[in-house]
Every structure is written in structure tokens, then in C-alpha cells.
């Protein structure tokens, strides 16, 4: 089932566009051998690696503090970091640009790209690693300390190895996101810093040079496959049976020094995110030379905005589409995760890589591919509303798989055996042993699928109908027309989206009794 879904909605369109591109003059190898292609590939990989390292450096302490300590307001932290992640990258780009302006620095640099990527992706580290961390039994570390290990040695030999699967999962996702990032590169990177993704877009849409675009798209996919194969191997090797079913009790903060350490741990991530968000809020409230809520009122009116509906309608559309896409992603992704986790053979590994590919494929490739692949009966679906749901689910599925596979792998088979020995029939054994782990992972997965679906812009911009815009496509239109008023409306829409995300994340956060997951 997942294979058929991926083959039809992903492989087929991508194949169609690549074949179309290859039919043009000029050989793929020539494009690959251009010096400029090499430069672009190196820069793409380099900025992604740097962004991933910095995101990990800033995200890990925050993951530890929110997962392991009784930091007051740690739930708020987890909700807050998620907000930029659902904002369209164009908006995160605009926020970071405003941030740099405020501090008198210029964007259009590698630093600006890295900062924007950190703001955008820090949620991945905090939530995936943090979620896993809170399931690790802290007594193991305590035992190591009692046995005389130095704190550093405990971290190196006990904590990190047990954390490795989640760490690697998060790093892989962040790297992929940065490797294929589009909106951020375009806004804060500026035209002087092209990546594979922006070059594919430029060749396909500015030069109508589909041959070069297809060659670059193939190169991008090849690089992603290599990364995923490496990643998959590491992850399998790192899988540990160390998670417990119970969430570890957070460590109370007794001394002032402990409190200071914890605050210092969350401060960098929190500061960045809060600064970026508050600039958005400020911009949405600025009316002329003063401040007011006029822009928010305008969201509910159909003004001269270039949108055929009131901007507020986009919010409803986005929520409905995101719910449908999340459900679809959970079903397809869940089934895939089960096959991947159970499959020790080649098939499981291939599936594992295949399911991640949509993340590493340029939205332009997929968008154009869908246009020419579904253009004639019986597959005449290219203007169907359902295609938006399918496209957003494709982007969500990798998150579902990445969140669930480590959890499924971490289930110790001996627990099943133990349950059987104690007299449970196999079905009950699976239900009682697996369900708590799976449910928690599914919550994390659904949260991410919902979030990426809400924020998805690239593929949606090709497929969303103008009378049914999503929030990101509506924002893009508002930003593209002249006038401060419309720009203010776009910012207001961004803030509404941020608040909605925060609200839904908060509801889920507080309904959970155990304090993990999303």
C-alpha cells in the first residue's frame, strides 16, 4: 500500500518531469561537469552541514533542559520553538531579515542563512531528541556516576550512545531541510548564494531550461539518496533497546547554580525564536507611524488584495487540508514505519530511503511533475483539490516514519517474550507492550505532519486553487503586491498562524498526562 502510494504520487510525476527534461538538448553529464554545478553542490552541502551543526549545538541543551529538568515553563518552551517551524519559510526569512536589520547587520550572507535555518529547525532537535531523552532511564547515568565515572565520561559513554538514534534522526531531518531549503535561501541568502534547489527553480521557471533543471534535480536526488543510505545504516546500528515505557521524572532544580545552568541551556534557542516571533508581531501591529489592530480586522474583509477571498478564509482551508494530510500521512507513514522497522532485509531499507525522498526533492520538480503526469484520463487529477492534500501528505510522511521507526525498533523483543511467558496471547502482548510506545511516537509524528502541512509552500503553490488558498499561498500573494497595508496583513496572517499552532500544540501538550511527545 505505501509502495503503491509513493509510486503513483511521487515516483511517477518525478519520472515524468525528469524524462521530459532529459529529452531536451544537452547531456546530463555535461551539466554535472560544469564547474558552476560543483560550486553550487558544495555550497548547498556546506551550508546545510553548518546549519545542522549549529542547530544541534543550540537545540541539544534546550532538549535536555525541557526533557530532563523540572524547568518551570518547559512546556511553553516546547510550544514556542514549534511555532517558527510551521511558518512558511518565506515568513521566517522575512523575520530573520528584520532581525538582522534591527541589529544593523546585512543579510545576504551565510550567517543569515544559518540563523534562519536554526530558527526554523530548532524545534526538530528539541522535540525529537527531547522526546526520546525523557524516555531514557536516568538511573543508568546515576549508576555510572556512583561507579566513579566523571560527568564528561557519563555524557560520552552513557548518555550520547543511548540518545544516538534520536540524535541522528533529528540531524538527518534538519540536514535534509537545509539541503533543500528554498524560501530561506531566496529571502535571506539573496541572489548571490545559489543552492541546488534555487538553481533548479531558476532554470525551470526563468530560463525554461528544463534539461538543466532535470539534471540538477537528479543530482539533488542522488545526493539525498546517498545521505539517506548512510543515515539509515547509522540509525540501524545505533538503535538501542534502552527506552523505558515510563517517562523519567524530571529532575527538580534545587540549587541556584542548577537553575542558572538550566536557564543558560534553553536561553539561546528561546532567545532566537522569541526575537524572530516578536518582530513578526511588531510588524503586524504597525499601522502607519503608530500601532493598532487594523491589519487583523482587514483579514476578515475581502479587500483589494489580489486574493479572491478574505484572507481569513485561507486559515480555514489550511486547517482542513492539514487535518486530511495528517491523517493520510499517519496511515501511509505508519504502515511504512512498521515495514521498515520489521524488515531486516533489503526491501525494508529501500522503502526507508524511498519514503524520505519527497523531503529531498525540489518542490518545483514535484509540482511540474504532477502537472504533466496527471494530465490525461484516467489520471486527470492535476486540478483536483485532493492533490493538495496528497502533496502535503508526501512531505509529512517522512516525519511520521522518522518519528515512529526508532520507537518501534526500540521495543525490546524480550518484552513480548516475557508477556508470552506470563500468559498473554500474542495479540494482547503486542497491544500492551507496543501501544504505549507507538501512541507516543504517533503523537510526535502527527504533530510534525500537521505542522509541515500547515507550512508547506513549494508544492502547494503549484496546486492550490486561487479560490481556496492556504495560509502560505495567501501570504505569498499579499507579500507580492504593493502597499504597506497588504504587507501588514501578511504579517497579521503569519501571527494568526503562529497563534493557532501554539494553541493546538498547547492543547495537546496539556492533555497528555505523561509530558512527552509533541
Amino acid at each position: 500500500m505505501p509502495v503503491a502510494f509513493l509510486a503513483l504520487f511521487f515516483a511517477w510525476p518525478v519520472l515524468a518531469i525528469v524524462l521530459r527534461g532529459l529529452a531536451e538538448d544537452g547531456s546530463v553529464v555535461d551539466v554535472w561537469r560544469r564547474r558552476s554545478t560543483g560550486d553550487v553542490l558544495w555550497f548547498t552541502a556546506g551550508q546545510a552541514a553548518l546549519s545542522t551543526l549549529v542547530t544541534l549545538a543550540i537545540g541539544l541543551p534546550a532538549a535536555w533542559a525541557t526533557a530532563r529538568t523540572a524547568l518551570p515553563g518547559r512546556r511553553v518552551v516546547r510550544v514556542l520553538v514549534l511555532v517558527p517551524f510551521v511558518l512558511p519559510t518565506l515568513v521566517v526569512g522575512a523575520a530573520v531579515e528584520a532581525l538582522f536589520e534591527r541589529f544593523g547587520a546585512r543579510t545576504g550572507s551565510l550567517t543569515a542563512i544559518v540563523v534562519a535555518h536554526v530558527v526554523f529547525n530548532v524545534a526538530v532537535v528539541v522535540r525529537i531528541v527531547g522526546g526520546h531523552w525523557s524516555l531514557l532511564d536516568p538511573r543508568v547515568e546515576e549508576v555510572a556516576r556512583v561507579l566513579g565515572a566523571s560527568p564528561w565520561r557519563v555524557v560520552r559513554e552513557v548518555t550520547l550512545p543511548r540518545l544516538a538514534p534520536a540524535l541522528w534522526s533529528a540531524a538527518a531531518i534538519v540536514f535534509l531541510f537545509c539541503f533543500t531549503s528554498f524560501g530561506v535561501i531566496l529571502t535571506v541568502g539573496g541572489p548571490g548564494l545559489p543552492t541546488l534547489e534555487t538553481e533548479i527553480w531558476r532554470h525551470a521557471t526563468r530560463r525554461t531550461d528544463f534539461g538543466t533543471a532535470a539534471a540538477l534535480a537528479l543530482l539533488q536526488m542522488a545526493a539525498v539518496v546517498v545521505l539517506l543510505v548512510v543515515g539509515g545504516r547509522l540509525e540501524r546500528r545505533l538503535a538501542s533497546g534502552a527506552t523505558s515505557r515510563r517517562v523519567a521524572r524530571p529532575r527538580p532544580l534545587r540549587t541556584g547554580r542548577e537553575r542558572a545552568v538550566v536557564v543558560a541551556a534553553v536561553a539561546p534557542a528561546l532567545t532566537l525564536v522569541v526575537l524572530a516571533l516578536s518582530i513578526l508581531v511588531e510588524r503586524s501591529l504597525s499601522v502607519g507611524s503608530g500601532h493598532g489592530i487594523e491589519r487583523y480586522r482587514e483579514l476578515f474583509r475581502r479587500t483589494d488584495s489580489g486574493l479572491v477571498v478574505a484572507p481569513a478564509e485561507a486559515i480555514g482551508n489550511s486547517l482542513v487540508i492539514a487535518c486530511a494530510a495528517t491523517a493520510l500521512a499517519l496511515v501511509v507513514g505508519g504502515l511504512t514505519a512498521r515495514s521498515v522497522a520489521a524488515g531486516r532485509g533489503r526491501a525494508g531499507r529501500v522503502l526507508d530511503v524511498a519514503v524520505m525522498l519527497p523531503l529531498g526533492t525540489s518542490a518545483v520538480t514535484l509540482g511540474f511533475g504532477i502537472l504533466i503526469a496527471f494530465d490525461s484520463p484516467p489520471l486527470d487529477w492535476r486540478s483536483s483539490r485532493a492533490m493538495v492534500v496528497v502533496a502535503q501528505a508526501l512531505v509529512g510522511i517522512p516525519f511520521v516514519v522518522r518519528a515512529m521507526v526508532p520507537a518501534l525498533r526500540s521495543i525490546d523483543p524480550r518484552l513480548h517474550e516475557a508477556a508470552a511467558v506470563l500468559g498473554a496471547d500474542p495479540r494482547r502482548a503486542r497491544a500492551e507492550v507496543d501501544r504505549p510506545v507507538v501512541r507516543r511516537a504517533a503523537q510526535v509524528a502527527a504533530g510534525f505532519a500537521f505542522a509541515v502541512s500547515l507550512g508547506e509552500f513549494g508544492a502547494t503553490s503549484f496546486l492550490a486553487r486561487p479560490d481556496a488558498p492556504t495560509v502560505p499561498t495567501a501570504m505569498y500573494r499579499l507579500l507580492g503586491r504593493p502597499g504597506e497595508a497588504l504587507r501588514g496583513q501578511a504579517m497579521a496572517l503569519a501571527v494568526v498562524l503562529a497563534v493557532l499552532t501554539a494553541a493546538s500544540a498547547t492543547v495537546i501538550e496539556w492533555r497528555r498526562r505523561d509530558g512527552v511527545g509533541w
Binding site: R20, D30, V31, W32, R33, R34, R35, S36, T37, G38, D39, L41, W42, A45, A94, E97, E101, L186, T187, G190, P191, G192, R202, T205, R206, T208, D209, F210, A223, V226, L227, V229, V230, R233, L234, R237, V287, G288, D304, G306, V308, F368, L371, I372, D375, S376, R382, S383, F462, P466, R477, L479, G480, R481, P482, G483, E484, A485, L486, R487
Partner: protein, 384 residues
Amino acid sequence: MHTSNRSRRARRPARALVALAVLLAAAACTDDPDVATGGDDDRAVDCTPTDDVDRIDLGDAAVDADAGVTVKLGTHDSFAVGDGVLESFTAETGIEVEVVALGDAGEAVSQAILTAGEPVVDVLYGVDTTFVCRAIAADVFVPYRAAGLDRVPDALLAPGEDRVTPIDVGDVCLNYSKAAFPDPSDAPQDLDDLLDERFADAFVTEDPASSSPGLAFLLATIATYGDGWEAYWEGLRENGVAVASGWSEAYEDDFGAGAGERTIVTSYASSPVADVLFSDPPRDEPAIGVVADACFRQVEYAGVLRGTGHPTAAARLVDFLLSPTFQADIPLNMFVEPAREDVALPPEFEAHRTPIDDPITLDPAEIEAGRDRWTERWTEIVLR
């Protein structure tokens, strides 16, 4: 057992990383078969379509012969139309119109070329001077001579035997902030002035590789300086030109709609009109001025797409786009001017527009032949 397991664990990923490095290195191979400046320099470009497609002829068919049909109008993202305008077309012909935004102008054309013969929409509106040749040569359109074409100045017509119909005209011009230059004589007067140190670090323009006004401005400099355009841009770079990826980044962020860090920007002759209409709080006088020298004229065209299921209904929609009703609606919605010379501009548009008497024009075939080479060269000169 434990140790051997561990070292194997460490080695495998390392080997895979080496494989990745090899892949990267192979791609970065120094041998360079196609340097940006070489290659297709002397490519003869012909804007004539290759296929002979039957013309659409409405003949004596009744106005409402296609009543009940829905026609899809594909546009770029900047399309906007007043309330009730498209409805008046439906009332007259019985044809429903569905507007489909196809992305920015470049994306809309790319999509039309990719889907040539099996189009997503029936009529495409918004192909401009800089891309029209490419679209016509790719056999995207069916020839049709729209009613009212005799009211359009000949200078606006595109090559390719009625494949496309001119709908609107806009001029890409330099704009300046009136706050920074209260006296118009202090503002730059022409392209040469931008090299003056009085305007050091003051000018922001758009990347011609990703922005339509950016490309128009590059073409204006090429038309003005001929072979000297490269030297001109080297001069601009020395004088601190900033480059943004798109119009809204340049105009809204860097130029701040007249209140930003940069005080000169590449925008449109009609920007002051939009500035007054969208100003916040409302004001009567625009905060920006227009440099009337070296403006580049962009014409936007519409055409019936080859392969449409409703050729005659689509042709009627093209007629409507060129009708006085739609033409009169264009200025205040899209801030460009109607292609028909017999349609009056609305007074609030007339009041703040800067008439451009002698705009720069380039032949679409010439643009097509040079565009990619020029943008590559420009990138090397200005960004690298």
C-alpha cells in the same frame, strides 16, 4: 565480540561518507564544457511558431453560442480584477470564467511550455515582452485575431501572426524616495547619475535571473550602453548597488516604500499611484518619485492555448480582455496601462502617473537571443 561489533559500526558509515565525498568531487570536476560566456552566442532566434495551427474564427456565431461553458484563465500572481467585471462577461456570453494563478510570470510561462498541447487552462494572460518569443516558438498558442486589435498601437504587437494579443503596458523605471531627495533636481536624472558618488550605496535593484523588473532594468542598460553595459554594471557595483531577489524584497524591504535604507529602487512608472492608493495612513501626495529616463517598456499579452477544449469560448474571453470594460479596469487593479489607445485612464491614476514619452523597447527576438547569456554575465559581474 563486543569490540569487533563496535569497530564495524564505526567503519561502515565512514565508508559511505567516503562514497558521498567521491560523488561530490565527481560533480565538482574542474573540466568545464559549458562556461557561461561561451556556447550559444550566435544562436539565430526566430520567434515564429513551427506548427501550422488552424486559426480560430468566430465568424457569425451568436455571442452566446458558448453559453454554459467554463473557461479557465491562467494568470501570474499579480493578476487582479475589479468586482463584477468578469461577471459582466458571463452575463453577456453565458461563459463562466475561472481564474487560475499559475505562480509568477516565469512560472506561468514555464508551465504553459511544459503542458503545450495539453494545457491546464484555456487562456494564458501575462506573458510579457521578455518571454513572449520563447512561448510563441514553443507553439503554445493558437492564432486568433481579437476584436478591437485595430485600436492597439502597432508598436505593441508581438511577432508570430496573432498568436498573442497585447492587453496591457507598463514601464519599468527607477524610483526615488522623496524624503531623501525633496528637491527633484537632487534625485538622479538618468542612468549615468547612478555611478555618481552622491548616490553611493543608495540604489537597490532586483536580480534579473529571478525578477521581471530586474530583467527589464538590465535590458534597459544594455539598450542604453550597448557593449558598454558590462562596464556600467562594474561601475554600479563599485558604487555599492544592492541586489534583491524580487520586487517586493527590493521595494518593500530595502527601499521601504520610500522610507527604507536604500533611496533609489527599480520599480514601475506607476508606483506613485499605488503608493497613494495603498498609503497608510492615507496621504494625497506620493512619497516616491519616478526617474523618467531609461524606462523599459513591458507589454503583457494574452493568448488561447493550443489544445484547449473550448477554443471559441476562449477566443471570446480574449476579446473581452481587450474590450473597453476590462481595459478600463486594468489601471487601478494591476497598476499598468491598457493596451487600447481609446480607453481613458481613471482620474486618480492620471493624477499621479508619470508619462514616459520615450521608453526603451527591445525586439522580443533580440531579447530571446541574448537573455540567458546576459543574465549569466550579469551574475558574474555583479554577484560573484
